[in-house]
Symmetry: none
Subunit: 401 residues, 2 copies
């Protein structure tokens, strides 16, 4: 019996409220003996640790460095090893593309071909502006193929998202990408007979694109990968947990992912204070709030240790506004670690603190990796965060008699 089945059976609607603040990429590694969390002056995060019960979470399992998608899915109680999202859908979310239940999306690269052979898979990494111009040109001249609406969304440099909208589409297609330079371009091939129609549309799209771009010096073709549909097997959080969830995130990827999970995605600007303003304004209308803070991850990804320390100090000032709302359950944690010294996501477990009147405080008084390791929650899979939050909000009935 899986957690989802248990959740469906045991969750009960209540008025109790849960606030989950995700400080993206929070966990770090020492520079001059201190991690970013250890170096930061963060009295309010420390006070939260003092009031609550702490631990360390593993997003997928120990040693595995997760992408943002799987790391967040786990935090929301969706097994990331079971719910794998297609590359196309992740790229679409990251680019801010809204994907309907019948759409098919794919990651696109502008590329260079000579005599049918792919000579540069990234079209010399054309500029983002150049990319925007090309997408605009194609959107103007290539609106529909066999009643399927075609839309291109420019990303950074040579990357774009292709969206096909209409009925009868399937994502069971091979990549239209030879994967290596020096090889001939390949069409998308259907993997099932239901995908015959979609393959025909995609390949016609590529033919017409080639004609439209034939005079471009670099970006005279495109490669398409990771065809995917909306993951309709993802049960919405409201159905699983009988909660009314709201998402407060500014970045497209997190907005898109939480929309896939059926959360109400609230508008929020890029300023840190906005997270808290939007929470306060909407506090009475929902009973589960996901708050996303990106700066701890982006500074870590850039290897800017000092800036990551500052990012922690910046959000720390607003933590008392979470206390002031007095939610039944307050959790502050991360989706994954992003140590500045690695300039990337990492496998290190995440500091986790849960505050609830049914969670007697442990002895942790400092919100750091090291101190959380001594917390009473111990080390646990991120997938158990949701059961713990629901339990402490008294939203879970007894299992068995």
């Amino acid at each position: 019996m899986k957690w989802e089945e248990i959740a469906k059976e045991l969750t009960q609607p209540t008025d109790s409220k849960i606030v989950l603040l995700v400080m993206d990429g929070l966990g770090g590694l020492p520079v001059n003996g201190q991690t970013e969390l250890e170096a930061a002056h963060k009295p309010n995060l420390d006070e939260t640790a003092r009031r609550g019960i702490c631990g360390l979470t593993d997003p997928v399992f120990p040693g595995i460095t997760p992408g943002s998608g799987p790391a967040h899915l786990a935090l929301f109680g969706y097994d990331p090893l079971y719910y794998q999202l297609g590359r196309g859908i992740l790229e679409a979310m990251g680019t801010g593309v809204e994907v309907g239940r019948d759409d098919v999306v794919a990651r696109g690269n502008f590329a260079t071909i000579r005599d049918g052979v792919v000579v540069d898979r990234r079209a010399g990494r054309i500029s983002t502006e150049e990319n925007q111009r090309l997408c605009h040109l194609l959107n103007q001249n290539l609106k529909e193929i066999e009643s399927i609406k075609i839309t291109l969304y420019p990303g950074k440099e040579h990357r774009f998202v292709l969206k096909l909208s209409g009925s009868g589409l399937s994502d069971a297609l091979t990549d239209a990408d030879p994967q290596k330079e020096g090889k001939p371009a390949v069409p998308a091939n259907p993997l099932t007979s239901e995908a015959d129609f979609t393959a025909r549309v995609v390949n016609k799209f590529l033919e017409e694109l080639r004609l439209l771009l034939k005079d471009e010096p670099k970006a005279n073709y495109a490669l398409l990968r990771g065809f995917s549909k909306f993951p309709s097997h993802l049960p919405p959080m409201s159905a699983l947990y009988k909660i009314k969830p709201a998402s407060i995130a500014n970045y497209p990827m997190y907005r898109g992912l939480t929309r896939l999970l059926g959360m109400e995605v609230l508008d929020v600007g890029p300023a840190t204070e906005e997270i808290f303003l939007v929470l306060e304004k909407n506090y009475e209308y929902y009973n589960f709030f996901y708050l996303h803070y990106k700066k701890t991850d982006s500074t870590g990804e850039d290897g800017r240790y000092e800036d990551k320390v500052k990012a922690i100090e910046e959000i720390d000032k607003f933590i008392p506004r979470l206390w002031a709302l007095n939610p039944d359950v307050l959790v502050i944690t991360s989706d994954h670690s992003t140590p500045s010294v690695l300039k990337s996501h990492s496998w290190h477990p995440n500091p986790f603190v849960l505050v609830s009147k049914y969670a007697p405080a442990d002895e942790v008084s400092c919100f750091t990796e090291k101190e959380c390791a001594r917390g009473w929650l111990g080390r646990f899979p991120s997938l158990q965060a949701m059961p713990l939050m629901l339990a402490h909000a008294l939203k879970l009935k007894k299992f068995g008699a």
Copy 2:
């Protein structure tokens, strides 16, 4: 490979002895800053913690509040998510009904019907004495239907257990219960063709019961739910672990459950000392002893914090008698927590201590939730308790070469 398969392969019979004392519902939450365990004067439990190695267990998984059935199954090494026991069988165990391998049992409610419509699903909660009178009446007048023996066992107020004995019975039946008042009574319907016969017997039983009770003012009908058979897929502990297990429990539910697992269920009175007397008297005849102490749970369920503290102090006096037997492995733990402030089972993990000459003592010197959180066993699923006990009793061979 599941634990059971590993157990069957790796366990070996030895003379070493294991004593497992389950203090039901032991874990609690603070009142005036102290949990029941923290408030209790319990020098012997503390000394046990000092001698042993401690930890905290999660019965099902973090956040899940278990019933007594799943919580105990986990402690005995049976995955509670896999081995789910039917409602009827649990009710039968709780009522002290012995269930044979071919019997079918169901939970019954006396109910009130008017013109075929269920107007009170609990027959106005008739008294237990009234219930006993009705069950006696029915047992006298309705002994057999189509060679199937019919027996009713009165429970509290309107509740009873129906047992069908004979051959060819199946438990694949829908509830004979409209679930809501104001709806017509419904028959039990077979879910498979093998259950046709049983459904016919059950529905004839209900017809005859209606005739026999037609002049009763309140309890003039009955509803039947949770038809279930003996869970024959449960392997006996002796086969899994090559041990000779004995159960020392006074409450019907725990006696019934351990009988299902093939333990020898010894007679024991309700006095706390009896647990230890029966253990001492039978110590030479078995090599695994399950001791059940109910008071810590029943006082917690009632919200009687002080009485729960006293219940802990009461059993503490007898702990030296466990030491005196010098078992190879002594474990003291709980099946689940029952904090007085919640007046119910809860999801909080259970204090656990294991004493063995192969378990060097950790630094825990006080048997409390908080101190056990610092023990070397860490936080682990209850399902791992049995492997740990068997290992420390040298009953497990090497896995692999």
